[in-house]
Symmetry: C2
Subunit: 209 residues, 2 copies
């Protein structure tokens, strides 16, 4: 199944700017992108990077997977894919530091018209649509709206319950999850720079090595 | 399978004190407890509430499920259960606002010696042990240590990848997840008081009604 991975490396991950330099944040998002593409590939699907700018051969991605450059905002660029592409088709966000092939298989396996994974905070981290008319509108709580749209189109809806696919990498606390549970390029990138600190209150935080 | 649910209603959920009064936090943890017990029951297992104080008939729990009062800290109280109880036995934390019977079935189904669900931030939200010698030590990143202990005992280990079971209710942002995805007592409790607010930056937050 073709799996589009939207990617925007301009000023990435500003909510991580308290803990990472801009150069680090760029390196981190490329590492996440490589993990997502590799996991899609290993799960038996076909990753296509949908990027706002040329990847310039970075991250072992551009030389291995199909890349489409379109400098447009997320919603129209994904809707153009949904209009043109044969179904089923999948869209998976690029910033999933805990992604694994097994987690993605749970996205691909169900036969429902619309299979979806929420992100923390109500986003839509991944979906498969088998319905031609489905279109996205990414914004704060897009998950709820996407499920509603799919149901209005008469789709059966299956929600995949996955911690790995629901965990995006927006906040410093998400990097803790990467340290604890990740095993790909993104986890390696974070491990080279940070470790988990525990305070007396049984809470954990990120500490630079 | 007997499923112990440790519960401590004294000064509950202090990290929610910016958004909830103490009385509300008490009501909320009882609502979560009821959801966990009901889900365990519906999933075909047998909930036993392991509480630091009498439930006083609250939350429709005390009158429906077995309750054991032991005013001790979490780690020794769970280890006493692990020492005495026939295996397999399960332990599930009481504050899972997104818990469902289906999510819990994924905990009960695998045949591994140790089946475990991490919480966000490295905690241990749920486990099943089939090994008599397994003991817990709850603290910051207990998940990693528990997996290591089980492996040292020669157990096969299976990690359940569940957003619903990994989401505990510690921070205001977790209440947003409850509003978006919950459908039990805890979600109803939160919905009566809060709604999801979206700001222009595509981030969501909690707003009192």
């Amino acid at each position: 199944m073709k799996t589009y991975v939207p990617f925007c490396p301009d000023e990435p991950k500003t909510r991580l700017s308290d803990v990472m330099t801009e150069q680090e944040r760029v390196g981190f998002v490329y590492a996440c992108l490589a993990d997502v593409c590799d996991s899609v590939d290993t799960a038996g699907a076909e990753p296509v990077v949908l990027t706002t700018q040329s990847l310039d051969g970075r991250a072992g991605v551009a030389d291995r997977y199909q890349t489409v450059v379109r400098d447009e905002p997320l919603t129209p660029v994904v809707n153009a894919v949904l209009t043109d592409e044969k179904k089923p088709v999948a869209v998976v966000v690029a910033d999933l530091p805990l992604v694994t092939p097994d987690a993605l298989r749970r996205l691909y396996e169900p036969d429902a018209g619309f299979v979806v994974v929420p992100g923390r905070g109500g986003g839509t981290n991944a979906f498969v649509t088998r319905e031609d008319g489905f279109r996205v509108d990414y914004h704060g709580t897009s998950f709820v709206d996407h499920v509603e749209r799919a149901r209005k189109l008469g789709c059966s809806v299956e929600v995949v319950d996955s911690f790995r696919l629901s965990t995006d990498a927006d906040e410093p606390v998400d990097l803790v999850e990467s340290l604890l549970h990740g095993d790909g390029n993104a986890a390696g990138f974070v491990e080279d720079r940070f470790e988990v600190a525990e305070d007396g209150d049984d809470r954990v935080s990120l500490r630079r090595r």
